[in-house]
Symmetry: C2
DNA sequence: CTAAGTGCAAAGTATTTGCAATTGG
DNA sequence: CCAATTGCAAATACTTTGCACTTAG
């Protein structure tokens, strides 16, 4: 499938692709989630409203959305597919290794880095996936003040 | 290739953990590879020298090495586990979407970004995983010069 | 109406685990 | 010697696929 337009807002305009109840629901949920859903979590949420929905439809839809540029795949770990709604500006992720919370951030430095590296290696850079990891303030407090339990 | 000091240069010093032929071989191969091996590739290479080696040993060793801080897991895709020997300085990856080649790069901007973001979000940042993607010069030439062949 | 999409079950991959046999220290 | 490790096969976990039925357009 070839769709080289800017991020679509809807499925409607793609010829041959139908708007189904399931797809509408799934896309809604992804967008409402504000990011960071894996297939299974999405499935669980979707079943609340559409109990007959199957996991394979979730996977198929996710793949479709990705092809259409409606969502983006993010690699947090090797364990699941993670997706989130595509948003207009670049943003990246930072994950707390202790509590697992994921926050988004932006940074002009990322832009700079893209140009710099692109120039140096003679790459035309089209995407960037940046993930930082560390410990959020809350977890640091707990650590320093309390008992040490580690993974 | 020199592999002098890393967090942990060898398994030897860890009590209860044994140095086996398999582990030595695997760690050697990972370090020689200079980066970017997935479990299966490592398995294939290792069997050349140790044909009775099993895939599960590869997985178990990889997990052990990661726990010991000897190797690092990198998420290129959801499809495989990728590992590489832990190296003293940060470096990141850029992948060509057309031919798939992966190159490494460094950038002081990454450092800056870590501090900046860490400060802004009040995170203590311990790791960064940066991946850029785009098209290398060779593939760009092929593209622009002629026949439209796509993957 | 009919091509596109769905649910379900079965098939794939990649990775992990149980266990008897082996081996490092 | 004996706990750690291994190889093998079976088990898991996640994702994809085949197919008959349903549905959007």
């Amino acid at each position: 499938m070839d769709v080289n337009k800017s991020p679509e807002t809807s499925i409607r305009e793609v010829p041959g692709v139908r708007v189904t109840t399931q797809r509408r629901l799934l896309l809604d949920l992804i967008r409402q989630a504000g990011g960071h859903l894996d297939a299974d979590e999405l499935y669980r949420r979707a079943r609340g409203r559409e109990p007959r929905l199957s996991l394979s439809t979730v996977y198929r839809s996710l793949r479709l959305f990705k092809e259409l540029g409606l969502v983006e795949e993010v690699h947090y770990s090797r364990e699941h597919l993670h997706f989130e709604a595509k948003s207009p500006k670049d943003h990246y992720h930072i994950i707390c290794l202790s509590c697992g919370q994921v926050e988004e951030f932006e940074s002009r430095l990322a832009q700079e880095m893209k140009s710099e590296v692109g120039e140096k290696l003679d790459f035309q850079i089209t995407g960037a996936d940046l993930q930082l990891s560390g410990y959020c303030s809350r977890c640091r407090l707990e650590r320093s003040s309390g008992s040490g339990s580690e993974e």
